[in-house]
């Protein structure tokens, strides 16, 4: 009945949260005797100050778009998929198998195949928790987080076994070959000037992530499946009344979620490393939860939130170089504060703001 304007909900609330996060982070920085304004300056400069910085930012953002979308699709069905980490690992294995199995002549052929491999494996890894939820009522929160550990163990086993490159001591596969090389932004933007996005890992997967964001929007708001997913997520009882199958919605939403998480590997494994390594997800799966929450489970919001978290990630790493007084752990603390303020504490600012708007409106009336 009483709501604040949409712009306030979508723009003002995240901005206030972000400001609060920076204030809190600033206090921490202050406490260790560093200048918080320097921190903000170097974060922004590091992330956006050069095309290389932007290239890194977008590279991280690509990961977060995939995992943010993965989280949100499941969330629309009110399934809390926190297994993007494991599903991404499975996706990496799937992509690697496809890319190693065939000597690909060109990336335009290799990419679709890798998409298929990554999404089938990612979806497959989500399928077991999904089935257990749909048939046995085992909560996906529990099962997906456990499956993260299993996936981490399995990839270690594979990379020390059948998938291992015999010519190296490292737990990694051999190089995928030049035919599987995804064009980086540096190569794509070469015609527009020298040194753009120099040595940044951002590659065509960024566009794939944007396409997926659009497709997720179509899925959720334009298709019958999306309608059923949203209906089921809003009310299980009403869905039963309408004859919407809980089993099907649960399975489909989780499979799509897993497939999207699996696609993260296209960016990292295929795009940057060009081989499968053990720890390539690096928490992006969990970051997807914060991205999904901050983006209000809307693809557009998720893209924006992903870019923001990309900035923080890249800017945070730059801080290490620019401010020797700030350690890597301190960067993590700052990032964690921002996640807490923007993700977990949304309602802390949202509710008072809503009351404020209602009071303003009443005063005007």
């Amino acid at each position: 009945m009483d709501k604040m304007p949409r712009w306030a909900d979508v723009v003002l609330v995240p901005l206030i949260n972000l400001t609060l996060a920076f204030i809190a982070a600033g206090l921490v920085v202050l406490a260790i005797g560093q200048n918080p304004f320097d921190m903000v300056f170097f974060v922004i400069k590091g992330a956006l100050g050069s095309t290389t910085g932007i290239g890194y930012t977008l590279y991280y953002a690509t990961n977060f778009i995939f995992t943010g979308l993965a989280f949100s699709v499941a969330m629309h069905a009110r399934h809390f998929n926190i297994g993007a980490e494991g599903q991404a690992i499975a996706g990496g294995v799937g992509a690697a198998i496809v890319l190693l199995a065939v000597p690909w002549p060109h990336w335009t052929l290799a990419l679709p195949a890798a998409i298929l491999g990554a999404s089938v494996f990612g979806a497959g890894w989500a399928a077991i928790p999904a089935y257990l939820q749909a048939r046995r009522g085992s909560h996906v929160v529990i099962t997906t987080i456990m499956f993260n550990f299993i996936a981490a163990a399995i990839i270690g086993f594979l990379l020390n076994g059948v998938l291992k490159d015999p010519n190296t001591q490292n737990a990694e596969t051999r190089h995928f070959g030049q035919g599987a090389h995804l064009p980086t932004f540096e190569e794509i933007f070469a015609p527009f000037g020298d040194g753009l996005f120099k040595s940044a890992p951002v590659n065509v997967s960024f566009f794939l992530a944007l396409i997926m964001a659009f497709l997720v929007w179509v899925l959720i708001w334009r298709t019958r499946l999306g309608y059923q997913i949203r209906a089921f997520g809003s009310s299980h009882t009403a869905s039963a009344y309408a004859g919407i199958s809980a089993f099907r919605v649960t399975i489909y939403s989780m499979l799509i979620s897993g497939a999207l998480a699996g696609m993260l590997s296209l960016n990292v494994v295929m795009g940057e490393q060009e081989r499968l390594i053990k720890e390539f997800v690096e928490g992006a799966g969990f970051m997807g939860i914060a991205v999904g929450l901050m983006g209000r489970n809307h693809p557009f919001g998720i893209v924006l939130a992903a870019i923001l978290f990309g900035i923080l990630n890249q800017g945070g790493f730059e801080l290490l170089w620019e401010m020797p007084g700030i350690s890597r752990e301190m960067v993590l603390v700052i990032q964690a504060l921002i996640i807490i303020f923007t993700g977990a504490l949304v309602h802390m600012t949202r509710d008072p703001l809503e009351r404020f708007f209602i009071r303003m409106r009443k005063k005007r009336a």
Partner: protein, 521 residues
């Protein structure tokens, strides 16, 4: 009217409750507008009004749930500020909510002292409460076993516990919000005896209800609310149900449904030996059989919780069952994978569920998304195999909103932002405009205002006259009697007997509802 003239038994004391100029707005909605009312000591004062008229808001202000924007409250002549329910209790005001606030697995005694314990140890409080409780019970005919668990009590007895709770806290003024919604007619009669008893002992009762019959039966004075305003306060003896209805709605209302005698055709829905168990394995429906013919309305009466909800859910494909159900001569699957809401709709069964908020609508979906809910597989709503045709759904919704006069006519508004009556109209429009062969309707007018009730009843009768079979489940006996052609009463999962509506009355049905088998009527 500040003087207690009507009762005559009171000296010229100040009124028990006097509200002056109470106003309360929720955003743009003015829920209460400059309301003044005074309730005499030792009177039963009724407050009637349609849903959304502001009755509950007014009582919530009195009980400290909301703070009024303007206006004063006088309790026994003294200006009183009531910031929360603790203050209301301290001022001697007690409230019996529509939905009881009892702890199911606590005993009566434990529930009564809950929140009013003295000290950290329970034992002394319990002992004190026991004797006090027995006194109260004797004094007001409010017998309940203090050691019985709430979950073992009937609804009527649970309500007595709520009243006892209020009296235990020394309430002199009792507010009862829609107290008879869950009671059989005889339980309701008993409640009114208790209320009269309390009144005669000097307590003041405020009775909120939308049932005019209860107002006429139980109250001394009555106030009518409409759209946030108090439109009239009259002595009950000087008014009549049609006059009250007109005051409530602001125009003349048909309290009786205008309908021709039914012309039943062949059997559309045949139910034989239907049995349902719930998740806990308890048998909720214990083998019932009935037929519904084309062109007739079969009403299922009964107190809520006797298996009617389960019956609708089984026929609507929500819960599995065992037994035999035939639609148009074809048996339908009652268990197994192919039994769901979709398969029922394919057989021409439309279902207006009892609870529109948890079953019939997705509350945070917009009206147009709700208007195709359940029929979202329909070819007319598909653009191609992949995409839904949102434009077609919107057009369809706008037509439905027009035909059913749904207000506001804004298809982009979320279902939760419509009033109860308009929510119900969205569901009805969706189900009726499908032109189904069989319509299952549960509580079609629960929480719906009188103006809309009239409209909804007309729609149901029109569908019957178009030769459709209609199964109506309602806990409102008046509704059953005015709509149905035949009535069956459900009690404890069984059908207690079937009557032709014209040959039965409230008294007989009331006995059946209480499980008393009629003397070969």
């Amino acid at each position: 009217m500040a003087e207690g003239g009507k009762q005559g038994r009171r000296e010229t004391a100040a009124p028990a409750i006097e509200l002056k100029g109470i106003s309360k707005a929720f955003g743009p909605v003015q829920a209460n507008r400059d309301i003044s009312i005074s309730v005499n000591k030792g009177a039963i004062h009724g407050i009637v009004g349609e849903n959304g008229a502001g009755k509950s808001t007014l009582m919530s202000i009195l009980y400290g749930f909301y703070k009024a924007d303007a206006g004063d409250i006088f309790v026994n002549g003294t200006l009183t500020v009531i910031p929360d329910s603790q203050a209301a209790i301290a001022a001697g005001i007690g409230m019996v909510h529509q939905h009881f606030k009892l702890v199911e697995n606590f005993s009566v005694l434990e529930n009564v002292i809950l929140g009013a314990e003295d000290g950290a140890m329970l034992k002394p409080s319990l002992a004190k409460a026991r004797s006090h409780l027995l006194d109260l019970a004797r004094e007001y005919e409010l017998e309940v076993d203090p050691d019985e668990l709430i979950e073992n009590l009937s609804v009527g007895h649970q309500q007595r516990v709520e009243i006892l709770k209020a009296l235990y806290r020394h309430a002199d003024i009792l507010i009862l919000d829609e107290p008879t919604g869950v009671l059989t007619p005889s339980e309701a009669d008993h409640l009114f005896r208790i209320l009269r008893n309390l009144r005669d002992q000097g307590k003041t009762i405020i009775l909120i209800t939308h049932k005019l019959r209860e107002i006429m039966d139980a109250t001394d004075t009555v106030s009518v609310m409409r759209q946030g305003e108090m439109t009239a306060t009259v002595k009950t003896a000087d008014t009549s149900p049609p006059e009250l209805a007109e005051l409530m709605v602001g125009r003349k209302v048909l309290l009786r449904v205008d309908k021709k005698p039914a012309t039943p055709g062949d059997v559309r829905l045949r139910v034989r030996d239907l049995k349902v168990r719930d998740d806990a394995g308890v048998e909720r429906i214990k083998g019932i059989s009935f037929d519904v013919r084309a062109g007739e309305i079969l009403g299922i009466a009964g107190v809520a919780g006797n298996g009617q909800s389960e019956l609708l859910e089984v026929l609507g494909g929500i819960t599995p069952a065992s037994g035999f159900v035939e639609v148009h001569g074809n048996e339908i699957d009652l268990s197994g994978r192919s039994s769901d809401g979709q398969s029922r709709r394919a057989r021409g069964i439309a279902h207006v569920p009892e609870d529109r908020q948890t079953l019939g609508l997705i509350m945070d979906f917009m009206a147009w998304e709700n208007a195709c809910f359940g029929y979202h597989h329909d070819p007319q709503f598909q653009q191609n195999t992949l995409l839904m045709d949102n434009a077609a759904i919107l057009r369809d919704t706008e037509a439905k909103m027009k035909n059913f006069d749904i207000r506001p006519p804004n298809s982009g508004l979320q279902a939760q932002n419509f009033s109860g009556g308009n929510q119900q109209k969205i569901v009805l429009a969706r189900e009726i405009e499908r032109n189904p062969d069989i319509l299952l309707v549960g509580q079609p007018t629960r929480g719906v205002d009188i103006g809309a009730i009239e409209f909804i009843h007309q729609q149901i009768v029109e569908l019957r006259d178009a030769g459709k079979a209609i199964l109506l489940v309602s806990v409102e006996l008046d509704e059953i009697l005015s709509l149905s052609d035949r009535v069956a009463v459900m009690f404890d999962g069984r059908l207690m007997g079937e009557r032709t509506t014209s040959e039965t009355d409230v008294k007989e049905l009331g006995l059946l509802m209480a499980g008393v088998v009629g003397e070969a009527a």
